[in-house]
Amino acid sequence: MANIKELSEKIPERLGPGHRLCAGCGASIVVRQVLMGTEDPVVAVCSTGCLEVATTIYPYTAWKIPFMHNAFENAASTMSGIETAYRALKKKGKIKKEIKFVAFGGDGGTYDIGLQALSGALERGHNFVYVC
């Protein structure tokens, strides 16, 4: 486990500046800190919400890592697809790297409209972190 100073060197900035979340918004603080949790490359998914719209206003993106937003209620199932694609392509030798996966959902996208997709993804045992 690294301390803060070590993190500042080891982990590249994964959510850059210029996003349009409110000044002082906790969402981007959480995202930055969660994404400091691994040195491996990370692919992120986000359900529709403040975090997603404010960080990806076309033609700009604040994400410095591969990122996908699909819809409001399906961050977990979208990530199921990405994570499965990773396993499929790794099996075929098309991808060599170790990659980690993180999905961000808001309260609605998680335990309201998105509960079913999350439940299915958990039951199938996909290998990703889900952050609400």
Partner: protein
């Protein structure tokens, strides 16, 4: 930025320039700006880890300044600084 036509942009809404939001300057949202007393700073980097706008500049594990082009002036850095070396000044 001049807006591009449909033949000039990637298909499917893909943004192929990671972190391009940096081109969008949120610094002008500020009414107060953070100012640091370098002498007092212990380089604990709590400001860095808490900044929602990735606007604390760090080099070799040391806090070296603010990215005023993007800092929205939320004052979190000043609030979390354990040695109170950051204060918010009116723009």
């Amino acid at each position: 930025m001049k807006e591009k036509g449909w033949e000039e942009i990637p298909i499917g809404g893909v943004i192929d320039k990671a972190g391009s939001a940096a081109e969008y300057k949120t610094g002008d949202w500020r009414t107060f700006k953070p100012v640091r007393d370098e002498k007092k700073c212990t380089h604990c980097l709590l400001c860095w880890i808490y900044c929602p706008d990735s606007s604390i500049l760090v080099k070799d594990k040391k806090m070296v300044g603010f990215d005023y082009e993007h800092c929205k002036g939320d004052g979190i850095c000043a609030a979390v600084c354990p040695v109170k070396c950051i204060r918010m000044e009116k723009e």
